[in-house]
Amino acid sequence: MDHPAELELIEWVAGRLTPERAAAIETHLAACDPCRHKASAQRHTWDAMGDWTVTLPAHHLWSCVEARLRDTSGHVRRERTGWPWMVVRAAAAILLAAAVGHVAGRWVRSRAVGPPSTTTFAEALHLDALGAESPVGLTAAMRPLMPGLLKEDIR
């Protein structure tokens, strides 16, 4: 057998080769000093690395994560996604558009009426409460509405 690749020796030491391949490597190592030397060095390195275990002290990762979520957004995300929520959003947008259109339509209609009739104008000025044949009463009624215009007349 050819010398195994270095990566294969690493995986053999790690115990991650198929049993057949591992057996072939072991057969080769038994007969090849340079490869056995490499494998031995890798074994020692691998085992020494295994001594580096990280003992985790008690920590409060979750409480820190939760606090950061609240700090970064002021509130926890409640955003909804996925097709059901897209349908809901689309429906809400349509309803909103319809409502805006309805209000805008009413406003436009209210602005689109023709010139006021004499009767309507008189009603708006509450002239119906005055006698049409009473110019004094009419002037008195209009004075607060058109003070500059009536000043000369009053004189």
């Binding site: 690493i10 031995s40 390195t45 690395m49 580096w52 985790l56 820190c64 994560v65 979520l69 926890v76």
Partner: protein, 182 residues
């Protein structure tokens, strides 16, 4: 993840509790600082929370998680390289457990930790994911975004550097031992 995407904090809490030890240990081995490792772990789960709605279950969750952690660690390493003065502090380690950490083992750990720390970043990441997280070459490639052949090359060079750095610790039979003994 679907529950996290739906905004359920309890689901994220469950994910954090399940993976926190692995994430913190990995980040600690890559960064060499306990406080930075905790920070990376917290950041990873915050990012997961916000990215959950866009998560596509095309890969294992742990692959995605490792990718976030690796990228965050690389960011911190680059920042440390750019601004070594402001980031240089004494290493903050987790408290030792003297009952399971005798002096000779502690020396070995110190040697290993220093040797791993001295590896180039990409070799370090490949070796840590391979040795301590038991990831395959393909899984390391997925977690890092590197090609599988690049990962294999990094592993070969990384372990070679470690063997050299730790060679004086190794009581290795010389290659011609059998010949001289026989």
């Amino acid at each position: 993840m679907a529950a996290v995407a739906d905004g359920r904090m309890a689901a994220l809490e469950e994910l954090a509790r399940r993976h926190q030890d692995s994430v913190i240990a990995m980040a600690y081995r890559l960064l060499g600082r306990w406080d930075s490792a905790e920070d990376v772990a917290q950041d990873a789960f915050v990012r997961i929370y916000y990215a959950a709605p866009a998560y596509q279950p095309t890969a294992k969750f742990t692959t995605w998680l490792y990718r976030i952690v690796v990228n965050r660690c690389l960011d911190l390493k680059r920042r440390q390289a750019r601004d070594p003065v402001s980031t240089a502090q004494t290493a903050i380690d987790p408290p030792d457990d003297p009952a399971t950490d005798p002096l000779d083992a502690r020396e070995t750990v110190e040697r290993v930790r220093e040797a791993v720390r001295r590896l180039p970043d990409r070799q370090q990441i490949a070796v840590v994911l391979h040795r301590y997280e038991d990831l395959s070459h393909r899984a390391i490639a997925d977690a890092t975004g590197w090609s599988e052949s690049a990962v294999e090359s990094l592993l070969v060079r990384g372990y070679a550097n470690l063997r050299e750095a730790l060679s004086d610790m190794n009581e290795i039979d010389p290659p011609d031992r059998r010949e001289t003994a026989g």
